[in-house]
């Protein structure tokens, strides 16, 4: 029992084992590879920031460039002039992401845990129930019809949260985390000690799979934060609850549509194109969208890396 008690386990991990680790050469090589790739990942974002500060004129002349001809904060002043619409959609994005993530993670864990339990009688059934929907779906229109007319998901926050509450993919990921981190013996021991199922889950299992929960929460939060298609489908009249991502995607889609149909719309399209928000404004919005979630990232990462630091002692 003692060896698998979490607190006891921690003590052992924290103990100063001096095990062999990679030499400085290998460490340096790792750093170089990871640093180069990280650079490759961050440069496009810096690029986006540069475009957002480029003047319209510069974009017209030299296109998207790391070295614009002239700079401008026009996009940001314009963004702030969006005023209420911007802050409201910002607020909506936060609300949807936070509420959605909490609910979704709860449902995911609750669903994944019984699936992880080999002694659960309906394990096969629930496993299949979830797995099957990963491959087959009714399609967009039937789902839309059911959500709107049967479940009343239209012009409300629920419409932007409920359709994404559950993902079979995340359930499988969660189940795999449980499999790798939680020894079956622990559960058996807890059951023998008279611990109820919910008690076991909350007090014994959850603390062990924190990294897994943090990872799934991150994935869920990201998908809520980036979501815009639900808004397109389910928001009709109540635009006050529109998230920021949809504000941006609408601009993008407007431009795409006008491009595709310009020969049909003729002068109408030309007039509309003239009114479209500039590219730098779109990039400014991208910056607005990326920054909060990038800031939230370390929060999730803490758990993943918290595990890592314990691990690093071992290495």
């Amino acid at each position: 029992m003692t060896t698998i008690n979490p607190s006891a386990r921690k003590k052992i991990k924290a103990g100063s084992f001096s095990l062999n680790r990679f030499g400085p050469g290998a460490q340096a090589a790792f750093h170089i590879i990871l640093a180069l790739f990280s650079l490759l990942c961050i440069i496009p974002f810096i690029f986006v920031v540069i475009i957002s500060f480029s003047s319209e004129e510069s974009i017209r002349q030299v296109g998207f460039s790391f070295t614009p001809v002239s700079w401008s904060v026009e996009a940001f002043t314009y963004t702030f002039r969006l005023g209420n619409a911007l802050w409201r959609s910002y607020f909506n994005s936060f609300l949807i992401t936070i509420v959605g993530t909490i609910l979704s993670v709860a449902i995911t864990i609750l669903y994944a845990y019984p699936l992880f339990r080999k002694d659960f009688r309906f394990r096969g059934f629930f496993n299949f129930l979830s797995f099957f929907t990963m491959i087959f779906g009714g399609g967009l229109v039937p789902t839309f019809v059911i959500c709107k007319s049967v479940l009343g998901l239209s012009d409300n926050y629920a419409a932007l949260i409920v359709p994404m509450l559950f993902s079979p993919f995340n359930v499988i990921i969660m189940r795999t985390f449980l499999q790798t981190a939680v020894p079956t013996e622990l559960i058996e021991a807890a059951t023998i000690d008279g611990s109820g199922e919910y008690n076991t889950l909350v007090r014994i299992v959850l603390p062990i799979v924190k990294p897994g929960i943090a990872t799934v929460a991150l994935l869920v939060a990201l998908s809520y934060w980036n979501e815009w298609f639900l808004s397109l489908l389910y928001l009709n009249k109540n635009m006050d609850i529109m998230p920021l991502q949809y504000l941006l995607m609408r601009m993008q889609r407007n431009a795409d549509f006008l491009a595709k149909n310009s020969s049909m719309l003729g002068a109408d399209a030309a007039k509309a194109v003239a009114q479209l928000p500039s590219q730098s404004l779109k990039m400014a919005l991208v910056v607005f969208i990326v920054i909060p979630i990038a800031c939230a990232y370390p929060f999730f990462q803490r758990y993943v890396v918290a595990g890592l630091t314990i691990g690093s002692v071992k290495g």
């Binding site: 990280s38 296109g63 009714g138 039937p142 789902t143 058996e188 059951t191 199922e197």
Partner: protein, 322 residues
């Protein structure tokens, strides 16, 4: 640890049946919210699959349900879009890129995860991880601007340097040569951060005592990785692999549509099932055809998953999906 199990006396049979029922009950209540969601949002609309085999149109009274019932069965007619001479290219591209990327993605992201777990500098490990996630925030549309900044025939950086060096500038958007490479880089760039975080979290979950035992036995670091880390994250590798295989007939639309700027000349290397169906649908607005394409992708995915899962079961039943 296994000794603990045998040391516990077997409970009384009667008691165990009540306990078992109780356990089943409580575990079922856990799965219930998810199950209800699945039934409402996923299973209820599944009747829509029949649209793939019907000529869907509106009848009177015009309700969705009535329309589906009254629409005429057309058998496999909606699948005829597959008879195109382009089909070969489109299937080759879809499967080819997917297989290549599944393998590359797996190897590189596992390598990245292991490297990050072995770094002594906590701060840098965190920084790399954060930065690697950035591409995931940027949509393909935004990424396509970035690619354009390099490749644009007039103002792009590469043609610019080519001209400066006195070479003929490559017109990238009409030249298929480089696109398999460009698309591969873009795909890895976007997805590596995501998948390596999954593996990293899985590595974190490995019981440290196993490393200690290995170290006591005199295993080198490389041996520890081979004998402890990789087996430890095997379930995660297998699961992600199986799931990727299930999507082998689907393609990331934005990557193949936006990143090449929808340039026709590049279709021989960028046309995939999703873009083909999109372009066909934009012209015909045939709901049956797009349903049929979706059904086909699901069907191929299912066969691949079942196949992969059976294979995994043979080798390692523990890790299999079902």
């Amino acid at each position: 640890m296994t000794t603990i199990q045998t040391a516990v006396p077997k409970p009384h049979r009667r008691y165990s049946s009540i306990a078992a029922k109780k356990k089943t009950f409580w575990l079922t209540t856990m799965a219930l919210p998810g199950a209800v969601w699945l039934l409402l949002i996923r299973y209820l609309p599944m009747f829509g699959i029949v649209i793939a085999f019907k000529n869907y149109r509106a009848f009177r009274p015009n309700t969705f349900w009535n329309n589906i019932i009254q629409s005429e069965w057309v058998g496999l007619k909606n699948f005829e879009f597959l008879k195109s001479p382009d089909t070969g290219i489109m299937i080759r591209n879809t499967l080819g890129y997917n297989i290549l990327w599944i393998i590359l993605g797996l190897v590189i992201s596992v390598a990245f995860a292991i490297m990050m777990s072995e770094l002594t500098s906590r701060f840098l490990a965190k920084t790399y991880q954060t930065l690697m996630f950035f591409p995931y925030f940027l949509s393909w549309v935004v990424a396509s601007y970035f690619v354009l900044a390099f490749l644009d025939p007039t103002s792009g950086m590469i043609p610019f340097f080519q001209k400066a060096a006195g070479l003929k500038a490559t017109n990238f958007y009409h030249d298929t040569t480089w696109w398999p490479l460009i698309l591969t880089i873009c795909n890895l760039w976007k997805n590596l951060g995501y998948s390596s975080v999954l593996y990293l979290a899985a590595i974190t979950g490995i019981d440290t005592t196993q490393y200690e035992a290995a170290a006591v036995d005199g295993a080198t670091k490389w041996q520890q990785i081979w004998h402890v880390t990789l087996p430890g994250i095997r379930p995660m590798i297998v699961i992600l692999l199986i799931m990727n295989v299930g999507k082998i007939f689907n393609a990331d639309f934005g990557l193949f549509y936006n990143v090449p700027q929808n340039s026709g000349s590049l279709y021989p290397v960028t046309q995939v099932v999703d873009t083909y169906v999109y372009r066909a649908y934009a012209n015909t607005h045939n709901m049956g055809m797009s349903s049929a394409a979706g059904f086909l992708q699901s069907f191929v995915g299912m066969i691949c998953i079942i196949g992969a899962n059976a294979l995994v079961r043979k080798i390692d039943a523990e890790s299999s999906l079902f």
